[in-house]
Symmetry: D2
């Protein structure tokens, strides 16, 4: 009986290029963010630097996909980084040199891929690693991504299919990849009437990682992953998206509370339902894209803290989406609250206690055995929340670092619009 790897015993923390650079990131940008992480964040547990979609597409500059563009591909139908965007990849070295630099910073390196085999390989009918098996022979011709033109699904019943995935992950292992975000794969109910290959491709990828000789986090996108498939997802992946792409919109944040409530029982070591990237700081820097315009997050400061509080109380992976080097002090403070990050990394029994219209309360036990409570006002106006603790309890605020005694155990919180608070509970007996 095969077990999953040990790559994600705690929720992965890192940076991902999508929210700031879309499909057009380059080597310099990637390394600049890595350097920032080494200097300012590593000490807090942040470690993954993840290069998102289409690093194999030479002409990608923003979020637009160039349908049927010529992609950089090796002799076994495997996509490789475009050297004009990632100069160190020249000479067939792939992401090896970049991974090496990032490892030298004490960090880990991740990449994004789309499930499947390049359509260009299939139509050129190029070889795969298996002698006699060409790309055409393992492609599932009707299994395509509804929003990106690069790949066909892989037919799990075709001889050579598993070997192709094995060859991909051996290549990534050679490069030194530590984290793979696989896309067009988590929403396995997307095309219910279609013979969609995604579910079995998850299984092939799990197998390929087990065989590749390197510990790698497997992250699945996009959501919504179907709750009914929780056991399958837990069996085969380290993290998976509960929602479609999360951006800095109040309604999306409200919806995330409902999703966390549905999925929280599936949070466990190695298995992390994923709230998606943190759209904080400076976003969407791809100036040539008419749909994107560089800007600060649209969330208010209260909402930014609420994002961090919910992600951590739920134990979501934390993947920062903004351009790190442009962080202001407030943004940096959000992701360097050591007490809060410890909740994300090491708490247990995390669960909602109250789920009412426009308010929520979550609780967990921190690594020292203390109860922790988070109170959320989801209204766009002020609201008073009450809660009963025990006589003599005291509350330590994880943001203000102030302690408040509750002689009679009764808490009455005046919360501003969209404000939230997280407290460690100091029980009388513990304090004695």
């Amino acid at each position: 009986m095969r077990d999953k790897n040990t790559a994600a015993l705690t929720p992965p923390m890192g940076f991902n290029t999508w929210d700031c650079y879309g499909a057009g990131v380059n080597e310099a940008q990637l390394l600049a963010n890595a350097a920032y992480m080494r200097d300012r964040l590593k000490d807090y547990g942040w470690q993954y630097v993840v290069c998102d979609i289409q690093w194999y597409e030479p002409t990608a500059v923003n979020t637009a996909y160039h349908y049927f563009a010529d992609l950089c591909m090796d002799e076994f139908s495997r996509l490789v980084p475009a050297p004009n965007r990632f100069p160190s990849a020249a000479g067939g070295r792939g992401f090896g040199p970049i991974a090496e630099q990032i490892h030298a910073m004490g960090l880990k390196f991740g990449i994004h891929i789309l499930r499947g085999i390049p359509r260009q390989a299939v139509h050129r009918n190029t070889p795969t690693v298996t002698p006699g098996v060409t790309a055409r022979m393992i492609a599932q011709g009707y299994s395509v991504c509804p929003w990106n033109p690069d790949m066909y699904g892989v037919n799990p019943d075709a001889p050579g299919a598993q070997a192709y995935y094995d060859s991909l992950f051996r290549l990534y292992a050679d490069w030194g990849v530590d984290f793979v975000k696989v896309d067009d794969i988590a929403n396995t109910e997307f095309l219910p009437h279609n013979p969609y290959s995604a579910k079995r491709e998850i299984e092939m990828i799990h197998t390929a990682i087990d065989r590749c000789g390197r510990n790698m986090v497997l992250s699945l996108s996009p959501g919504p992953a179907p709750l009914e498939q929780a056991f399958h997802l837990k069996t085969h992946a380290n993290m998976w998206r509960m929602s479609g792409d999360f951006w800095d919109r109040s309604e999306a944040l409200d919806k995330m509370f409902a999703l966390c409530e549905k999925w929280y029982t599936h949070v466990s070591p190695g298995c992390w339902p994923d709230c998606d990237m943190l759209p904080l700081g400076v976003l969407q820097l791809t100036e040539t894209d008419p749909r994107w315009r560089a800007r600060k997050t649209r969330f208010t400061e209260n909402e930014q803290k609420t994002v961090m509080n919910l992600w951590c109380m739920f134990r979501s992976p934390l993947m920062f989406g903004g351009e790190l080097t442009m962080n202001d002090d407030f943004t940096l403070s959000l992701i360097t609250n050591r007490a809060l990050l410890e909740i994300d990394q090491h708490s247990s029994d995390n669960r909602p206690v109250v789920s009412a219209p426009e308010k929520a309360v979550w609780t967990c036990r921190d690594k020292d055995g203390n109860d922790v409570y988070a109170f959320f006002n989801l209204k766009h106006e002020a609201q008073t929340l009450s809660f009963c603790f025990s006589d003599g309890d005291a509350l330590y605020d994880l943001w203000s670092k102030e302690t408040t005694a509750l002689p009679d155990g009764a808490l009455t919180l005046e919360l501003g619009p969209r404000e939230s608070r997280v407290f460690r509970i100091l029980h009388k007996e513990n304090k004695a």
Copy 2:
């Protein structure tokens, strides 16, 4: 305001190669069936000889699609007949010589196409008829057929898209094509959450036919076409499938009664909801295909007549699916009942009168103004049906050609398992 063509003022009658030859028909088979039609059927109104799917695929031999096979294509990304299967197409003459021969028999010629542009054209990025517009520029990369790998949908918003369809139908007009069955297009609700281009491709094809300089029947497949889209279908096509593929199964026949009941109000000159091919006679001759095995229709003789009776009372197109040259006398008699075929071609006010579990009654007015009634026993055992006509009416049976008087107007019919009967009503006053 543009009207549709006059190509199908009555329901088209003909022969189609799919039910007997799948994707593998060749020139000799096609012409042998045409010759039979000329000799035995033309006099009854049968006229279309239609070559079904994948005539451009050199290696097709049965119903199997060879995923990503090399297709025969001209310099403007248009598919052309494979000369190894259609020798007269050699030298770039396409279907011209075959159409010419069929026209010389006094018949008409039809072909099958899939909506869209060949994927091979897109990935090779070959030219289209519009200077500067390549295949890649007009393809819809996410719009693919769920059961066949040949095409991408055409993006209706791309410059050059309409011109591409125009170039296709001008080519077909040059060849002398009279009938085009377009596939992967009628079930426009197939992928409801997907940006599927089929609906607007129907409109582009309608426009291309109007511009091509030749009268052509436009037939859409496969069904189920959505009832809610009836007005759109009537506006743009001559016939469209109400169901998925119809084969010789009792349950499918039962279901067709329900479909006819839903669609009958949309039957009108130029607009023919389609019950699909007649799976009669000898079927599935593609011996190399493990899924097919040459055989006679599975329908009983009663059911075979019921098929003909329903198709004609509803005024469906009549497309024979068996290998014509292998017809026995009974099969030939089914499709040469002149009185019944006249109902199909020239009756009016066709409608269900009774729709009850396991029985049905349909009526219409024939071209001479007589009432016609058809009685269907859908049980697999005998059943008695009763009906009230007027005193002194008489019934002329369209199959037995016998007349029965009804002195008191009361009809009591003993029908065998799955049997049906069609009567012309002779009213007393008319007989005087």
Copy 3:
């Protein structure tokens, strides 16, 4: 084979009390509207005066239903008019005296009922017309209306069920009822997973009308009636609602165009898909109801004409919903356009020709064989519509009564926001 009655060979035209009085109308109000109809509208074809819901509920005063109120009921579990609201009903005379007065005006009388048997009869277990069969024995205990508390559905399999419906319609025939609007019955897909009795109750009611000895229009509510059930509805009813309640909102009017496009093939003598009441003039007079407030229709004058134009081009029943006696001149002019009303009553081949976003064109043939075209601008701003007629055609405007010649057949119409125009086409040859 039983045919439906001849009560609605043309679309019924009349007045209904719901839009102005909700559930609280009284005898004086009903008769005042009848008198207005006699004096001002009868000459144009208006004839039905219909008393809507809950005339058997003594305390009803507006649109509110008093859950479980005591209802007026006779000895056979049949509801009868509340004498405090309809004084002439005292002494067990029911609606007889009112019907008599309305008939004396040369008009016809209609009532509203809910399918089923009163819950109060079931729980009191009162007798029905069948000896030995009590209300309890024919009720379907789980078949209830989702918005009104008065009735249980009738179990079609219970002995005495049909007899109960027969007894209802014999009573209505005795009263002199000409039109019955049956509610909670047309949307037969409302509770798909429930053993809902509505479909078979339609059949029982059809039978009861056939047996009652009086010609009565059967009108079914509320919609949306399912398009898939068109044949069943046509077999058993004279009119049925295509939509939920129609009120004076632009979006509802836009939606009605789509519904007419779906249903138009089912319009035929005796069978009238129903666009619902005309919410014109003065509406919602029930002052004690906090949700209603007496007011003029919210439709602009253009929209009011558009409502009349669409209803008539489609051949919908016309049931005026406003308080007739409060009509101003404009409102009266809307419903006394004789040429337009003749389209509603006597045209043929009515159908959409153009269905595009924010515009529509409908056509039909009037009773003299002239083509009629209606052009609709559905935008909330001005729009130009073009259309090609034949050289030398002329257009007669049914509202302005002006004629415009089209020397070259080309029509260019400047239409204001939400404006529509209806023209009779005068062909050159006809004019000669």
Copy 4:
């Protein structure tokens, strides 16, 4: 912040009358089963004796509901036991005397109710416990059970609604009730388009139990409870049904594996997703019911063990459905396997490990910290299952009580049709 009671810290174990007596159980039958439990089962942890539906209906004799029968009701519109069936209830003593006898046996007593207020109370408009509030004023007239005619839902917004539920549970507390199975309430998505009151009635019932002064288990029926509502169910109830009624059919058992896989993360103290009654032994004794016929369970012996193994590995409540006094030795042995019952009551980390077509493996940790594995062959023929343990592990079979050593850790199990096995794992280090 209110917490749930402590009534079900382990999964409730008991007997329920439905599977053997339907709606017609009587006092003697109930007490005979209680006596059996005291004598043969109590020592193994079985304790609840639950009287299922319609104890308030004097004429109930089997599974048929007599629509609108006269029910026994007290002066505050509360249903009480029918004295002809439960003689000790005479004189207004309700279930008090029975509860007292059962308590005297060292057991606990439970009853079944339907959410809502009797329809007979509503139509008679009888008082409730709140002065001035009658039954009619708190009923939700459109909220009815789709399969039983007794009740209306309670309108949660009506003054007096909570007080009515409070009065019910105070009465049950007075009687000495320890367990309440509330029906027509768990499948809160049953009527999605309907203003169904069930969800908020769950909340009212939770509140009423908190206020009633007695610890009571709250069990919700029928399923399928919606997985999306897991948090709501856990907040308000002790157990809830994952499925519709479970009977002794192989397909239903197969389906239960899938349900357990979906729900297992929600199993926790006080919160028990419920596999439903155990249809074992002798069932359906209601001889007057044509649909039921006294019989032994249809499950094979292998399947009967599989039921017990799955229910216990999942930690479902265990409610025996057969007539206890007719148990044969095999049946008794099924429910007195002390080691297996301890898994049900005291294990942790229960979860599926393998979920494949026609086989399953579940694991948990027993109260002594040993790993436990259950292997299920779901095929109707023999099957070999393999699994890898550690070198030197040994397996203790919970049914045969034999121990098998696995020198190299490899287990190969030959399982008969539908057979399952449960093993406690003895790790080498533990054995030392």
